[in-house]
């Protein structure tokens, strides 16, 4: 088809103009909305690309790194040492070895009484360091030993990560990725590796899988008798079937092989450190036996940097916040999408059909409005179990009410407009009229409401997570991070502050963006062209 352009009487090209284009032009003029949009986009990109970012795993627990404060320059080892020293200086002050003036001691006691632990630590640390520098104070032998041992640990400990295990039958054959092989093959490989019989390996794996399943059963339905558990286990095994068992067994075996390799690499590396040969970070391919080969990386454990500190089990707050944003933003978007879809469908039906249908639907909405929605969500989660998918479902289930009312109102006002009458006189079906005429014309209201709805969802999810009904560890969301952090609020404020800032910033941005959209879609807004 030939593309014709519209020209005016001066032969200038006249551009067609749509509501969307107009809205975009108005939105661009609104600085705050644009900033909000950019922030939202950045957040979304960060959340979407989290697995590719150079950050530590969000669920890796390093107990040595509990509650490390955030620092841009110092490694975790240095902060660990500082924490230990604070502790030791404090003990020294208690036992009278660290001498301070009477006034300072009184101040320290006052801080202790007021629970200002951080102030005490900072003070004794500063004082102690200064005195040690000046040669006035030295640690006693026991303390000195503790320090030396810690320093040794910091210098030598490393983390081994087995990234890939490959297998080849004969030397020089094409190497296969172990994780892509079948349970049968892996069983044989493991049997070779551990010098046992393949049948023994399989039997062992089956016992392990059974006991795993038993554990989940016991935690899911506590308080049954042993026989009942046995019956349930049998049922469970039947439901997951042979392939299910194989899948679980494969994961177990892979873990075991990986552990064996890790142990071997660990031994080798320790030897090398003793000989002073090791240079970190290490990245090498080691031959486990004639057939197995593993790619192993090792990094110094205490050279990690925690820009936003760590939590109570030594997990990196930065990566937890980024992975948490995944969950939070997903809930915001998916929840809004589902609730808007339900709302549009029911609202449009109620508005267009009218009469009894409308009456019944709207009374349902009224009743659901009347119920405390958090209670509904909590009941829903209690019945269907606590996982992220159910959380989505529960939130969507209670939040379509307002949008349904809005769409109903719009549809009712559009129902008698002449263009809908025209479409009916042309024989347009109900579905066509709703989809082509009514929904497009109420879309601006819907879009704006949805963007304002996203922050509300994030808040609700946070609230539920805060109550312990939301996402479960090791997964994180902004709400669960804040909820976890409340315990040590005064001692470890970074655990609370950073997720809270991340969340607040996003909510602000989303609200400004939503506001901007509302103005942009309203041709009569004061923010004119």
């Amino acid at each position: 088809m030939k593309n014709v352009v519209a020209t005016n009487e001066f032969n200038q090209v006249v551009e067609g103009n749509s509501l969307g284009k107009d809205a975009w032009r108005r939105l661009r003029k609104n600085k705050m909305a644009v900033i909000g949009m950019i922030v939202v986009i950045i957040y979304s990109i960060l959340a979407a690309t989290a697995p590719l970012l150079p950050i530590y795993p969000y669920d890796q627990i390093i107990l040595d790194h509990q509650h490390l404060r955030p620092s841009l320059t110092r490694t975790s080892g240095e902060i660990m040492m500082e924490n230990r020293l604070k502790d030791l200086y404090f003990k020294a002050w208690r036992s009278g070895e660290l001498v301070v003036t009477e006034a300072e001691s009184a101040q320290i006691r006052k801080w202790i009484a007021a629970n200002d632990t951080n102030k005490v630590w900072n003070f004794v640390f500063k004082e102690g360091e200064a005195q040690r520098e000046a040669g006035i104070f030295t640690f006693n032998a026991a303390d000195q030993r503790v320090i030396t041992r810690l320093q040794d640990k910091i210098d030598t400990e490393f983390l081994i990560d087995v990234t890939q295990i490959t297998f080849s039958e004969e030397k020089g054959d094409k190497r296969q990725d172990l994780s892509k092989m079948s349970y049968e093959q892996i069983s044989r490989i493991y049997a070779d590796l551990s010098n046992t019989d393949i049948e023994a390996v399989k039997a062992q794996t089956l016992t392990e899988v059974s006991s795993q399943l038993m554990n989940t059963l016991k935690s899911a339905t506590p308080g049954l008798t042993a026989e009942e558990y046995a019956v349930n286990l049998e049922l469970e095994l039947q439901t997951i079937g042979e392939s299910g068992v194989a899948k679980l067994g494969k994961t177990n075996l892979l873990g075991k092989i990986s552990t064996t390799i890790t142990r071997q690499a660990d031994r080798d590396l320790k030897q090398e450190i003793r000989e002073g040969l090791a240079v970190f970070p290490v990245e090498r391919i080691i031959d486990v036996n004639d057939q197995l080969q593993a790619k192993v990386t090792a990094t110094k454990k205490h050279e990690r940097m925690y820009y936003l500190g760590t939590d109570y089990s030594g997990r990196d707050m930065l990566s937890r916040i980024i992975y948490g944003s995944q969950v939070s933003i997903a809930i915001g978007l998916v929840g809004t999408l589902t609730s808007v879809l339900i709302g549009i469908v029911l609202g449009a039906i109620a508005g267009y059909v009218g009469g009894k249908v409308d009456y019944i639907l709207m009374r349902i909405v009224d009743i659901m409005y009347g119920l405390p929605y958090m209670l509904l969500v909590i009941i829903f989660m209690a019945i269907f179990g606590r996982n992220i998918l159910n959380l989505f479902g529960a939130l969507a289930l209670v939040s379509w009410l307002t949008i349904a009312r809005m769409v109903r109102g719009q549809v009712m006002s559009l129902k008698n407009s002449e263009y809908v009458e025209a479409a009916r006189s042309m024989g347009g079906s109900t579905a066509r009229i709703i989809l082509k005429h009514m929904i497009p014309n109420s879309l601006s209201v819907i879009i704006v409401y949805s963007t304002l709805r996203v922050p509300a969802f994030i808040m609700q999810e946070s609230f539920l997570s805060f109550l312990g009904l939301g996402v479960q560890a090791p997964f994180a969301s902004w709400g669960s991070l804040v909820g976890d952090a409340v315990d040590g609020m005064t001692l470890y404020p970074w655990r609370l502050i950073f997720p809270a800032i991340a969340m607040t910033l996003f909510l602000f941005a989303m609200n400004f963006f939503g506001d901007g959209l509302r103005d942009a879609f309203d041709p009569q807004s004061k923010n004119e062209l």
Binding site: A6, R424, G427, K436, N441
Partner: protein
Amino acid sequence: MKQPILQVRDLKQHFPVTSGMILQRQVGSIRAVDGISFDVYEGETLGIVGESGCGKSTAVRSISQLYKPTGGSVIFNGIELTTADPRTMLAARRDIQMIFQDPYASLNPRMTVRSIIAEPLVIYNRRNLLDPPLSKLEIEHRVEELMERVGLSKVFKNRYPHEFSGGQRQRIGIARALALNPKIILADEPVSALDVSIQSQILNLLSDLQKEFNLTYIFIAHDLAVIQHISTRVAVMYLGKIVEISEAVNLYDNPLHPYTTALLSAAPIPDPVVERNRQRIILTGDVPSPDKERFGCYFYDRCPKRMPWCSNHIPPMFKRGKNHEVACWLYDETRDYHDVSMEEAKADAAKASK
């Protein structure tokens, strides 16, 4: 005798008035159209005129089955529309299209001109009611052809309605109504929202199209000059009833019904000398509410020539000459009712109702 293309017989459109929250009871009804009958012949223009609220628009919406009529029948080309099944109805409706009053409200602001004009084609194409079925490209060509025909440049087809003036929008509406090659077009005050110069353009366009495609119009207006210009026959409506129906020339020269006379006398004449000497008939009172059943002449309350008889006898259509019918007891040639007293009239009505 020509065969009528559309026959309307005793068409009634009552809108229920309900009360009660859960158990809705009908407490009355608005009798928007209360039994109208007329024929429309091929190639003619039937003008319907009347003051606001007399049921003109409702009448055409009932005829096109946008509202399900309460009673009566609409026979189009031999097909009874009120009882037709949906598919027959749809096939018949292909030949009945509407043009709406407000060119701003009758076009979906979110659709381009192309999709607005193509919509009837797309709907009928998808339901396999077009013979032969059209391809996408053919629909495109048809849209362009229609746009050129109603005087719009086809380069505007990607534009949105809000970029056009009122007259241009009404042209879009006309193009949409023409898309399916209808036989009859129901025009619901198509020019009343336009200014006078544009009105004449649109009226001329409509007459041209009528000659070209042999269209039949039912044309609603409250502007008597417009009706006079375009109509071959004119029906005058009052309170949901047709009070007079006649050839246009005849009606303007020789109005019979007291209401028609009053209506015509209300139109100003653009000549100061004539205007100054014009005899106006001022009707007293307002149009009564159409919410109760009437047993007498519908115009009785305001009629300057009312007789006791009129209060409880509904006048039938009396033939006066060729193609001129009027619903007024004054024109019953069999009897003169001036002398009948109220008591006699009442007694007669009571007897008739038994």
